[in-house]
């Protein structure tokens, strides 16, 4: 059978099937390759330009136009709004006022601090642990597949569901699993209030920023190592065992082998994981929120609205940058300038750190 999908024009209907085959081969006016290419690219390009390229440009516009506000009857799109505004004689001024407003917002600065602390603690911890696990897994034979499956499990779990389970495990009630565990194994007498920021019983301890941070970091560790282990394992699998044999003959110790052979040969994967972890950690949001859920016994949580920072900040919530952006967006959806400026600041932070990592890696990564 001859495919006729791209002979859009020029194929005549011939009734003799045998003949049709021969004739259509000769008479086919097939589209040139570039035309086919653009034809098949149309669906992807429509989506990309509508929901990716346009939003990127648009968010830049929002961020730099001062006092941008949506107006009724001026079309759906921001650019449309922009040009309609101009045609109506409105004067738009470009400037950095949105950035100033964002950076002068106390909670935004606070959220940057939160995110920075979490990144600094969490990223090195997760990478070290997953690197160790991957190396160890690579060196054992018995039960290797079993352990590998267990270590991969967190990757196929629902972030929200497991965050909520963490929340329950760290609950203050006498049967909160972590407190029971600490009591039975380490003899910790008083239960620790890990997450709740309100005291509903007299004499009950209230969680501190530290205890909340511990839970968030443990959850990120739990949630983050699966992917990293898998990447490291696939990198380790490509290292030629000749290097190890040669080092053994030279009498190198296990640690020297790991330090001098495994690490350098694994450096591309380590670089990749470091960069993606930093980016991921700066954009952290869902995990923090899932762990908190239920900790605040607040009815406004009904349908999953974005967590509020307590007005007096007694709870010292760990609101991350992205959390602040979404909150700002929901509150001021008609004037998205500040949220856009904040997202550009986030982008700038991520890009600076990624560039720094590439610069450092030039000396240390061996391809």
């Amino acid at each position: 059978m001859v495919a006729t999908e791209n002979s859009i024009q020029g194929t005549e209907t011939v009734f003799d099937p045998m003949k049709a085959k021969l004739i259509s081969k000769r008479r086919r006016v097939s589209l040139p390759q570039w035309a086919v290419a653009w034809l098949v690219l149309i669906p992807a390009l429509i989506f990309i330009s509508m929901f990716m390229l346009y939003p990127i440009i648009n968010t830049f516009l929002y961020a730099f136009i001062q006092n941008f506000k949506y107006e009724k009857g001026a079309g759906s799109f921001a650019l449309g709004q922009f040009f309609t505004g101009i045609s109506r004689g409105k004067v738009f001024t470009f400037g950095l006022s949105n950035f100033k407003l964002a950076l002068s917002n106390e909670t935004f600065i606070y959220s940057i601090g939160n995110t920075a602390i979490l990144v600094i603690v969490e990223v090195p911890l997760t990478i070290t642990v997953s690197l160790l696990i991957a190396t160890f897994l690579n060196n054992i034979k018995v039960l290797k597949g079993f352990y590998q499956t267990i270590f991969f499990l967190p990757y196929v779990t629902n972030t929200i569901a497991l965050g909520l389970i963490f929340n329950l495990a760290f609950s203050y009630s006498p049967g909160g699993f972590i407190n029971v565990f600490l009591n039975k194994v380490f003899g910790v007498k008083d239960p620790i209030n890990w997450l709740q920021s309100d005291a509903y019983k007299p004499g009950m301890m209230v969680s501190t920023k530290f205890t909340q941070g511990v839970v968030i970091v443990l959850y990120s560790l739990w949630n983050g190592i699966a992917f990293k282990i898998l990447v490291f394992m696939s990198g380790l699998a490509t290292i030629d065992s000749q290097y190890y044999n040669a080092a053994k003959i030279d009498g190198a110790s296990n640690f020297t082998i790991w330090r001098r052979i495994t690490l350098p040969l694994l450096s591309p994967q380590i670089l990749y994981i470091t960069i993606t972890s930093f980016i991921g950690a700066f954009k952290m949001y869902t995990g923090v929120m899932a762990v908190y859920q239920g900790a605040e016994s607040n009815q406004s949580y009904y349908f999953g609205s974005i967590p509020e920072l307590p007005a007096d900040r007694d709870g010292e919530a760990w609101i991350p940058i992205v959390g602040w952006i979404y909150r700002e967006l929901e509150h001021n959806y008609d004037a998205p300038g500040i949220a856009s400026a904040a997202s550009l600041i986030l982008l700038a932070i991520i890009m600076v750190i990624t560039a720094a990592q590439f610069a450092v890696s030039k000396k240390r990564v061996h391809y």
Binding site: I150, I165, S173, P174, V231, Y285, G304
Partner: protein, 319 residues
């Protein structure tokens, strides 16, 4: 590593070496086991909590009385409660869920998962075909542009997309959930690499046989790249199942076309379940809810482990 022949001066140093290796092995297994327990613990809590009778679980959590977790009252009552049409609020009143039960959440999620996976796979296959096989002006530049968008944090796009969805009146519709993420640059990239590995000779042979470009895509490339496409389908389905932030922004109410039909997906639904009632007796039911939305993922993982790991590790190597 330990198995390779190593030569020793005498029997004593050989024994010392072996003893050291055994100690190392024990330490390695100890480390692995501790972390494995850390990773498995939440699942154990989830399984136990979901089967224990809700009242017993409450008694357990109030008194730390492990006897309450005994097998005598294990059953599916928490699961029934999750799919129930009513719930008990904080004041003990029975409230209707108004279509807010997990059956609806599952249905919504299936619609979104199937819809968005279809759109994503079709766009990715076609675009990857153009980038991998066809020659046209500006191909490399366009591809570089696409790759550059992968670096931009999604939050930047969310801001405008959120506004666009509002202005298009797409809030609380399936279109907002399916179409906005209708193309994934990563999948285009991943599929393009698979397509590029298909030898050129096949294309020329197909040309000689009079097969056109699209015929070649359909009859040769797609069958060869089927494992990759399967991986993409699974990862995309899992993505819809786990999506939370975007649905929470644009579809957290009831359906625009039917106000009795909730638009929540499973993750958002689970969070609303956790918010409905904060009393202790609800805990086991909440755990059952978490179990209900985690179980399908485990099943997918068991049956498609190979494809999932392939996709994940591939994305790692080609970073």
């Amino acid at each position: 590593m330990a198995e390779h022949a190593t030569y020793f001066a005498d029997e004593k140093s050989r024994k010392a070496y072996l003893a050291k290796q055994i100690v190392l092995k024990v330490l390695v297994y100890l480390f692995l086991t501790i972390f494995a327990l850390f990773l498995v613990a939440p699942f154990v809590l989830m399984v136990v909590g979901s089967f224990v009778n809700a009242e017993n679980f409450y008694q357990f959590s109030e008194n730390a009385d492990f006897k309450q977790l005994g097998f005598q009252n294990w059953g599916f009552s928490n699961y029934k409660e999750v799919f129930n049409d009513t719930y008990i609020d904080n004041f003990g009143n029975i409230q209707p869920k108004k279509g807010n039960n997990f059956g609806v959440f599952f249905l919504n999620t299936f619609i979104v998962a199937i819809g968005s996976t279809t759109v994503t796979v079709v766009t990715a296959v076609l675009a990857a075909f153009a980038f991998a096989r066809l020659q046209f002006k500006g191909r490399e530049a366009l591809f570089a542009l696409l790759l550059a968008t992968m670096m931009i944090p999604g939050e930047m796009m969310v801001i405008t997309n959120f506004m666009v969805v509002r202005k298009l009146q797409w809030t609380n519709t399936f279109a907002a959930l399916i179409l906005v993420h209708g193309v994934s640059v990563f999948y285009v990239f991943y599929l393009r690499q698979t397509f590029q590995q298909i030898p050129n000779e096949l294309y020329l042979a197909a040309k000689v046989d009079g097969v056109g470009d699209l015929g070649y895509l359909w009859k040769v490339m797609i069958p060869i790249a089927m494992p990759t496409i399967t991986t993409i389908i699974i990862l995309s389905m899992m993505g819809s199942w786990n999506s939370y932030v975007w649905p929470n922004l644009v579809a957290s109410g009831s359906w625009r076309l039917n106000s009795k039909h909730s638009m929540l997906l499973v993750s958002n639904g689970l969070r609303s379940l956790f918010g409905q009632n904060t009393s202790g007796t609800m805990e086991a039911i909440k755990i059952a809810g978490a179990m209900v939305i985690s179980l399908p993922l485990f099943l997918v993982f068991i049956f498609f482990r190979k494809y999932i790991m392939r996709g994940v590790s591939r994305s790692g190597i080609k970073g």
